[in-house]
Symmetry: C2
Subunit: 178 residues, 2 copies
Amino acid sequence: MNDTTASRQEIIDEPITDRDIPQIANIELFFFAYRDFTADPDRILQNLGYGRAHHRALYFVNRKPGMTVADLLGILGITKQSLSRVLRQLIDSRHIAQVEGQSDRRQRLLYPTPAGRELILELSWPQSRRIDAALKSSGFQNDATISDFMRAMVNPSDKSPADDMIGAARSEESGDRK
Amino acid sequence: MNDTTASRQEIIDEPITDRDIPQIANIELFFFAYRDFTADPDRILQNLGYGRAHHRALYFVNRKPGMTVADLLGILGITKQSLSRVLRQLIDSRHIAQVEGQSDRRQRLLYPTPAGRELILELSWPQSRRIDAALKSSGFQNDATISDFMRAMVNPSDKSPADDMIGAARSEESGDRK
DNA sequence: AATTTTATGTCAATAGTACTGACATAAATT
DNA sequence: AATTTATGTCAGTACTATTGACATAAAATT
């Protein structure tokens, strides 16, 4: 089982460089930036026994109060059964409330409670500050340029997510995923 | 169990805006950008039965050929037992090879094989192209500004990851995490 | 009015992956 | 000779996501 010493010819000891992958430095930076970007809220969430799924669910409900369960499923891209647990916990902890749809009483419209609003602000503040600080320290005059870049990074199929994230992230249809 | 109709006073129907969180649009864009950024390699990986852990392990080994298992553990931030499975699979599939350390024969230095190099290039190309295209379409003259911004997004504690990612991501020490 | 579809939710079984803790081996260090 | 280090493995556990089947109520269709 000791196949430790591979014959010298089979290995490569040259690192990848930007001659192989022109944007290698930015790929790496993007990875680390996102890791640290999510680390702040992750810490807060952990103390509540929540994970990123909770963060996302709470976030979107705060961004589009009154969205349906189907809308949320479409955005999160998880199964109904998975969302069920997450949503149940957020409802039990009074971060999210369900309201029967007026026109369609089958619907359970999702709204943040004051506690849910407070929590999402608490989670978002560190992220906002981080971006703000990074913009300033990297000498951006305004943040339009970064937004343009970020927007250009998103697939055309779900473009303008910030403008209308619901319609955007909703490229897949609702119902159980296969 | 039907607690669907919360009393109206407990809910909030105003969306969060940039008055609550100044960088809300960029937070969202960052989220979608990263999601799509990782979706390309994820698709390729899935066909091989691999996940992101494999991608990362393979990436770092390609970036610093000859790194030790302990180095890799430090960067990935997972336990030895978890890495074990991932590394075993990558070794069995001949994407990574282990070579006995010369000065310290306890070490199993990790190197990419030609197949491993080929795979990481295949995974990285779409990401590089995406960044490149985004830079151009958002009208950046050079990519230095984006790099500066990204670098500023990273925690000071593990700064300059692209310059020396090993030393950078290695802030935690090796051994089983607690 | 009867039937079908839709929106939501739940139960049961399974799979993947991470974790902890204990332990083993070989080689380096003291 | 004793201790520490680098690596690896086994067993058990936990969490989370998945699939599939099914249930209810309400809307839409015929």
